[in-house]
């Protein structure tokens, strides 16, 4: 399945429509389910989700593209963070927001 996914997405991350159409037509229902799970996983791996409380600056952009080379940055605004940034890349989450700080302080003080 992982091979099929990399065939569809190629190296540039663009969906190869002809291969995709062939897969959708050719796979059985259960195979298609597994393909979808693998495809979603690969998307999560390739796209870096960035949540920001404020406006994105050029400095942040360069820092992130240096940290995650070759990956697409998907930036969205999230006022609930208070301030700072939260980055999800694949399974890894880096939380450098005020929301995260406060939660960690509460945890360290032994509260819930």
């Amino acid at each position: 399945m992982n091979k099929l996914v990399s065939l569809v997405l190629g190296t540039d991350g663009q969906v190869k429509e002809d291969i995709a159409a062939e897969i959708v037509a050719g796979l059985s229902r259960s195979e298609l389910k597994r393909f979808l799970a693998a495809f979603r996983l690969e998307m999560r791996r390739r796209i870096v989700q960035v949540s920001l409380a404020g406006e994105a600056g050029a400095a942040l952009d360069t820092a992130l593209s240096r940290a995650y080379p070759g990956r697409r940055l998907d930036v969205e605004k999230d006022e609930a963070l208070g301030a700072g940034v939260k980055v999800s890349a694949g399974d890894d989450v880096v939380d450098a927001s005020v929301h995260g700080y406060i939660r960690e302080i509460i945890e360290e003080l032994g509260g819930t």
Binding site: L41, D91, I105
Partner: protein, 505 residues
């Protein structure tokens, strides 16, 4: 304390907090069944790693497949909603252990079950899964762990750091024997250091656990005892982890240079719990549907029992696992496994139990491979003779019904054997010290009771110590440390015992 001091204290505490951007490896629940959660993500989590669910509950990674991880939910409530976030912690499952646990009843995660608050200060975090001490860190087993039960201390003695199995059908007195052993640690026989006892109840009825704890309290044994309980109503995950938690607590005391005793009551139920988990994890089933690593499960647990060398602090961890057999079949899978892992076994039999021979120890099938070296010298001296006489009696016992047709030598063997069997009987909750054991076993083994009627042997036992202490106080004093007896001492002891025996004819 002044209000300003409190403010300053809180400010200091807040100021010293180290808050860094949190980096976490996350996953998501994709399926839940029977206490096993399947999750995707968690790409950097390891086998046996502790994970945290969004709601604060914890889990243990049991399987890592290509696309998902299988996680054991570590709480009584195992209902987890699909889609819930899971965070890996990068740490193994561990237990915070300190002396504060003494006298307490806890579950495998250290939560108190006795309704009292528990605060652990100055404890050490000990991983539940640890590698057993290596060869160079160990010393030979050399000091006895007195059970206070004559038949065990004489025939299958247990040394500190040994692993001795108790095996037998249901209702043969296995638990009674270990309860006696724990109670006997109160007396600190032979001037040995106090043993910290950890009683691990696995898959037992809550009522039984409560009864055992009440017995410990009544007998004043709770002061040096910790009970780790995972009752039959708890999920298999807790029953699976309970002996590992008990072992971790024992290791804490061992590493502090103390002697600890862990009782696993019982490992058959532990094997059942692990079988359930393994089947739910869809691991291949082997003999009796147990998974392939069931041997390793018990061997890695029991290997952690050790006597540490002087350089390592000189502490010890003794393990007394219990195995329940079905219809006396000790050649079933789990009993043979554990027999081969341990340093000996005490085999209890229903027939003996029903015949009134209690503890119902089958002397022929019970062995102790290392404990002999740990026996007190005097007890070792007298039990050798008694063992021989007993074995000869058992070979002849079948003929005893033809009483009148037997030659004199055989009749004598049978007479003596009957008295030895009588002497090895012992009521529950009445552990004996080394000196009393030596005296009564010597009396029976050397034939000093041959003329005492069998029904008066119990009376002899009740009276012999008082008789010796009043009549031969100096001899008692000499024998109290358990030294080897020279011929003169033996003669003196024989004379004193015979004096009492004559009055009972």
């Amino acid at each position: 304390m002044k209000a300003e001091d409190l403010v300053r204290q809180i400010e200091d505490r807040l100021g010293s907090l180290s808050v860094r951007p949190e980096v976490a490896n996350m996953g998501r629940v994709i399926g839940v069944a029977d206490g096993i959660v399947r999750a995707d993500g968690l790409s950097r989590a390891g086998y046996g790693e502790l994970v945290e669910f969004e709601d604060g509950r914890r889990g243990l990674i049991m399987n890592l497949d290509e696309d998902f991880a299988s996680i054991l939910v570590l709480s009584e409530d195992t209902s987890v909603p699909e889609g819930m976030e899971i965070r890996s912690t990068g740490e193994p499952l561990s237990l915070n252990v300190s002396d504060d646990l003494l006298g307490r009843v806890i579950d495998p995660f250290g939560t108190p079950l006795d309704g009292k608050p528990l605060s652990i200060s100055g404890g050490s975090l000990i991983s539940l899964e640890r590698i057993a001490p290596g060869v160079t860190k160990r010393a030979p087993v050399d000091s006895p762990l007195k059970t206070g039960v004559k038949v065990v201390d004489a025939l299958t003695p247990i040394g500190r750091g040994q692993r001795q199995l108790l095996v037998g059908d249901r209702n043969t007195g296995k638990t009674a024997l270990v309860i006696d052993t724990i109670i006997n640690q109160r007396s600190r026989d032979l001037g040995l250091p106090q043993v910290v006892c950890i009683y691990c109840a696995i898959g037992q009825k809550r009522g039984s656990i409560a009864r055992t704890v009440a017995k410990f309290q009544d007998e004043g044994a709770m002061g040096y005892t910790i009970v780790v309980a995972a009752s039959a109503s708890t999920p298999a995950s807790m029953q699976y982890l309970a002996p590992f938690a008990a072992c971790a607590i024992g290791e804490y005391f061992m590493e502090k240079g103390r002697d600890a005793l862990v009782v696993y009551d019982d490992l058959s139920r532990h094997a059942w719990a692990y079988r359930q988990i393994s089947l739910l994890l869809q691991r291949p089933a082997g003999r009796e549907a147990y998974p392939g690593d069931i041997f390793y499960l018990h061997s890695r647990l029991l290997e952690r029992a050790a006597r540490l060398s002087k350089a390592g602090g000189g502490g010890s961890l003794t393990a007394l696992p219990i195995i329940q057999t079905q219809a006396g079949d000790i050649s079933a899978y789990i009993p043979t496994n554990v027999i081969s892992i341990t340093d000996g076994q005490i085999y209890l039999e229903t027939d003996l139990f029903n015949a009134g021979i209690r503890p119902a120890v089958n002397a022929g099938l019970s062995v102790s491979r290392v404990g002999g070296k740990a026996q007190s010298k005097s007890l070792r001296q007298v039990s050798g003779l008694m063992r021989l006489e007993l074995a000869q009696y058992q070979a002849l016992a079948a003929f005893s019904q033809f009483g009148s047709d037997l030659d004199e030598a055989t009749l004598k063997r049978i007479t003596r054997g009957k008295r030895i069997v009588e002497v090895l009987k012992q009521p529950q909750f009445s552990p004996l010290d080394d000196l009393s054991q030596t005296v009564t076993i010597h009396a029976a083994g050397a034939g000093l009771l041959d003329d005492v009627p069998v029904e008066k042997v119990a009376e002899f036992e009740r009276r012999v110590m008082d008789h010796l202490r009043t009549g031969s106080a100096a001899l008692c004093e000499r024998l109290s440390g358990g030294p080897r007896m020279d011929d003169a001492t033996v003669n003196e002891l024989d004379a004193a015992i015979s004096e009492l025996a004559r009055t009972l004819r």
